[in-house]
């Protein structure tokens, strides 16, 4: 039998850095002070002088390096293996994009340096916006939000501002029960009450149910397309019409954009506001939980409300003293600038301009793929997901039995007969060398397993994953205890999450014994 992807290996124990501290050790290097040293008591009033930062570790450079290298070796990562997390789009993070983001002109530019000396940065933002508009069919895109949820909040604020300008911000937002948790959370943060809409038996938004709930108290619908079941909202045009007819707006959570690139555009489906996740669709790395970037696209009627500043371009006459560097050709040159003069703007959702470093990576990605590449991304992502679905449907329950888009949802219904649950299946997958799919989401499928392979996985990897899933299905029948007691191979086994919440210990404290391994 072919051996599993996951295997046993030697990993290293490593204490907390504070537990390794030895007085007098140091890891840093600083040139000697080269200005005359003033008496510190003259510079800072005594009541503000600090003796030391108590508890900070004292270790050598070697120990710092070993500490973090060992910690890193306990992590699963995309560069290690397959990460089929539904709605996360864990695609490969191109290395060249890291190099480009670290070019000194990008990495070491201060946000307040003169505009004339920031032409490269502002131009990149301007061009990224143009690319995202073309890809999505939206008219403008704000690059300011730091993550998807931040983009949602920004989008809702713009909707509120638009409706307020019309005379009534309205009170409610309709959200399907399959939505990601950030959708209702963002709505509440924006001061809206959430109406949860029950999905129909096809897993989609039911136009009739929507019609019954849609009225002039509803500001917007917040939907995801394809939805969190990986299914295209087939009635999207009717849905948009129902909402628009009552003066409401359509917000689309763009987390699942990986299914649509070059195929269809949200802007052509009646979407008014859409957020992008650069750390999903556009390959920027997840970093263990960020940084991401959540640009938000709008149709022109919402553009006046965008956060400030926005990157813009104007033509400057030759020899105006500004402009982007020496120009060989005569004539007017493009000058890129940040526009703060937008009187209807909602203001700012964060200081400065957004996660610029992630914009550089996303822009490099789009430039590396071009139109054909992006289309190939979506086609392959959709084929990969359907392939997995077709090869697991006989051993796992499929709640919505039709072709999916870039992700598919299974459930533990068959395995429950042997008292094996989704959580157990997920933990057992680790022993086979895979990160589990998304589990228990969307909420409308009990015991959901949401699988999104992305386009950056080979058929061989998909086959290995399928094999592992089939093996676990077999184990669930023949030796369920093996699955229920998984995982066996990682550095730690199942952790007591109940105790962690009941007796929270959220920091190291001095005077503690070094803990048992």
């Amino acid at each position: 039998m072919k051996k599993a992807v996951g295997t046993q290996g030697l990993v290293y124990n490593e204490d907390l850095i504070f537990e390794k501290s030895v007085e007098g050790r140091k890891a840093y290097s600083l040139p000697a002070l080269d200005v005359p040293e003033a008496d510190i008591q003259r510079l800072v009033p005594e009541e503000y002088l600090r003796e030391e930062v108590s508890g900070f570790p004292e270790v050598s450079e070697v120990e710092v390096v070993r500490h973090f290298v060992r910690l890193s070796q306990w992590n699963y990562a995309i560069d290690v293996g397959f990460y089929p997390l539904g709605s996360c789009t864990m695609k490969y993070n191109p290395k060249i994009n890291e190099d480009i983001a670290r070019l000194p002109g990008f990495a070491h530019a201060h946000p307040y340096q003169p505009e004339a000396l920031s032409q490269g940065a502002i131009r990149l933002m301007y061009e990224l916006e143009k690319c995202l508009c073309e890809i999505s069919g939206m008219d403008r895109v704000s690059l300011q939000p730091a993550a998807g949820a931040h983009g949602e909040l920004t989008g809702l604020m713009m909707i509120r501002a638009y409706l307020t300008a019309q005379g009534n911000p309205r009170k409610k937002v309709i959200i399907p029960d399959s939505a990601h948790g950030t959708n209702p959370a963002s709505s509440t943060l924006c001061g809206y009450e959430v109406i949860s809409l029950k999905s129909n038996d096809r897993g989609c938004i039911d136009p009739q149910a929507l019609r019954e709930n849609m009225n002039r108290e509803v500001a917007a619908i917040m939907l995801t397309n394809p939805n969190t079941l990986g299914l295209f909202e087939e009635n999207i045009l009717e849905i948009a019409r129902i909402v628009h007819d009552q003066g409401g707006l359509v917000y689309c959570d763009g987390a699942n954009l990986n299914a649509l690139l070059g195929i269809v555009r949200p802007g052509d489906m009646g979407i008014d506001v859409l957020h992008f996740n650069l750390h999903k669709t556009f390959s920027t790395p997840h970093g263990g939980g960020g940084p991401g970037s959540g640009p938000v696209g709008v149709k022109s009627h919402l553009a006046p409300f965008m956060p400030i500043p926005t990157p813009e371009c104007r033509l400057e006459a030759e020899d105006s003293g500004q402009g982007a560097g020496p120009s060989p050709a005569p004539g007017p040159r493009p000058y890129y600038y940040l526009d703060y003069n937008r009187p209807q703007s909602i203001g700012k959702v964060r200081a400065f301009y957004g996660n610029f470093g992630m914009m550089v990576r996303a822009y490099s990605y789009i430039r590396s793929l071009g139109a054909e590449g992006l289309r190939q991304v979506s086609e392959t992502a959709v084929i990969n997901a359907n392939y997995i679905l077709s090869r697991l449907r006989d051993v796992y329950h499929v709640p919505y039995d039709r072709h999916c888009k870039h992700e598919c949802v299974l459930s533990d219904k068959f395995q429950l007969k042997n008292d094996v649950k989704t959580l157990d299946i997920a933990k057992r997958l680790m022993d086979y060398g895979f990160h589990p799919p998304t589990i228990y989401f969307p909420l409308i499928v009990p015991g959901a397993l949401m699988i999104e392979p992305t386009e950056t996985e080979s058929k061989e990897t998909l086959d290995e994953f399928i094999q592992a899933m089939r093996a676990i299905a077999r184990e669930a029948q023949e030796e369920p205890e093996t699955v229920r007691s998984a995982p066996h191979l990682p550095k730690v086994r199942r952790l007591d999450e109940t105790m962690a919440a009941r007796k929270p210990k959220l920091r190291w404290e001095k005077g503690e014994e070094k803990n048992a391994r």
């Binding site: 890891a27 600083l30 003033a38 990562a77 909040l153 590396s368 086609e379």
Partner: protein, 470 residues
């Protein structure tokens, strides 16, 4: 190029007559895909998109520049980046919320380890212990630095941390007003207003005195039973050290919370922590600690508070626990506060935060350690003082505020700043921030920042160029 079956051009339809775009990030070839389509049981990939209404299907290729090879990409983006000045080329005296400190080489090496930067959020703790222990260490370091009891795994940045702190104060005492000093970073205040605008929370501003600190008398008169929190920055936007003891008292006297924002946390290497003055929530910007300037982002917010307010905190938390076999391990915990569990009742909507930037901060602080954070802070203090004294002595220049400062200070110039900054640029220097941009009453005033990264020679050069213009 259209074909009869599908709309637009699928890469699978083309054969040797039209070369396929082989993309190195997409392993499966057309042949692999054909085999999979066969298993799926459909004749073409078009079938898998059949449920998308034809009327909205794209009828053309996306209008994007043609794909660049790796070499071409590097050349093009290098040329673009060269259009930016940067601190390795120009000596910059800009601070104002983004600080140029020396980042030890090992920070970049360690955060570039695949297992850190290509890992997902640690929802499956058994295979994410590296990320989780690092978060636990970050939380600890932030608590130590701010002298608070509990800290979260990070926020987007300093400005949104302030906004979230205000929202948390509102959750705790349900009062309708926040009082914020105008000596708090103007962009932080703008973000605060955007966040609370439509939630029935009012923001009232209290000004600063000619000493450079928040006006205590005015603040005392403004704080009342409607005040949810008093928010100040330490050191403030002008680099001045605020009277935290007095501010803390006047907030608490009326039952308001005291929120302190720290935009330049290196200061806490030599200045007493806000926790020592009774702050209820301490937030701030971690960029100065191990993260490059990056034209404004990604940065990293920190958020620390009292143990008793734990369950009202936003953001992720890593907690210690044990596994089945009694081994110590870490997990994300108290998730019932968060969006994926509580949905519309969550303490915040935050999901993806700034984990890798927080890791950079963690590595930076471990590298500096107890001695290093103090030594770096002292060098900032001394070098800024040296610059401040020298410029203060120049004819026509004067120091605007006489409060003690850390590594930033405000100088009023004898001439329009545009000319002074132009002269500096000609000498490969970028001057401080023109405060007239945010404070009409501070026209011709420059906010200068000097860190351990500035050599004496560079400071002397700054003084020399200012002298020639003065």
């Amino acid at each position: 190029m259209n074909d009869e079956r599908g709309i637009g051009s699928s890469f699978l339809i083309h054969n040797s007559a039209c070369p396929i775009f082989h993309m190195r990030y997409i392993p499966n070839t057309a042949r692999d895909c054909q085999a999979m389509l066969k298993t799926i049981g459909v004749p073409s990939v078009e079938e898998l998109f059949a449920d998308i209404p034809r009327s909205i299907r794209l009828q053309r290729k996306l209008n994007l520049p043609p794909a660049l090879s790796e070499k071409e990409l590097i050349e093009e983006l290098k040329a673009l980046s060269a259009l930016n000045a940067q601190v390795q080329e120009y000596t910059s005296f800009l601070g104002a919320g983004a600080y140029h400190h020396f980042i030890p080489s090992l920070v970049l090496h360690l955060i570039s380890r695949s297992e850190f930067y290509t890992a997902y959020t640690p929802y499956q703790p058994e295979i994410s212990q590296g990320t989780l222990q690092a978060i636990f260490e970050y939380q600890t370091l932030i608590c130590q630095l701010t002298n608070m009891e509990v800290a979260n795994a990070s926020m987007y940045d300093g400005s949104t941390s302030v906004a979230e702190a205000a929202l948390m104060a509102h959750r705790l005492n349900e009062r309708p007003e926040m009082i914020v000093s105008t000596a708090v970073h103007p962009e932080y205040r703008a973000v605060l207003k955007t966040y609370v605008n439509h939630l029935g929370i009012a923001v009232r501003e209290v000004g600063f005195t000619e000493r450079g600190g928040t006006d205590l008398a005015v603040c005392r008169s403004m704080v009342n039973e409607a005040t949810g929190a008093v928010i100040v920055q330490y050191p403030n936007f002008f680099g001045c050290i605020e009277d935290l003891a007095a501010l803390s008292r006047l907030a608490h006297e009326k039952g308001a919370l005291f929120i302190v924002a720290v935009a330049e946390p290196i200061a806490l290497g030599v200045l007493k922590a806000p926790g020592d003055f009774g702050a209820d929530i301490v937030v701030g910007e971690g960029q100065a600690m191990g993260n490059a300037l990056n034209f404004g982002g990604p940065y990293v917010g920190f958020f620390a508070t009292r143990q008793e307010y734990l369950r009202k905190m936003p953001g992720r938390l890593a907690g210690e626990t044990t596994d089945l076999e009694g081994r110590r391990g870490y997990v994300l915990t108290l998730s019932t506060r968060e969006q994926h569990i509580r949905r519309e009742k969550a303490t915040s909507n935050i999901c993806t935060n700034q984990a890798l930037c927080a890791l950079a901060t963690t590595i930076y602080l471990c590298t500096l350690g107890k001695q290093g954070i103090r030594e770096v802070a002292l060098q900032n203090l001394q070098k800024a003082h040296y610059a401040k004294e020298a410029i203060g002595r120049l004819k026509g220049y004067h120091l605007v505020f006489n409060s003690p400062t850390f590594n930033e200070f405000v100088v009023k110039a004898p001439r329009p700043l545009s000319r002074i900054n132009q002269a500096l640029l000609e000498n490969q220097m970028i001057g401080g921030l023109d405060l007239g941009r945010f404070y009409p009453e501070l026209e011709n005033c420059l906010l200068l920042c000097v860190t351990e990264n500035h050599s004496r020679g560079q400071i002397d050069k700054l003084v020399e160029v200012l002298t020639l213009k003065g």
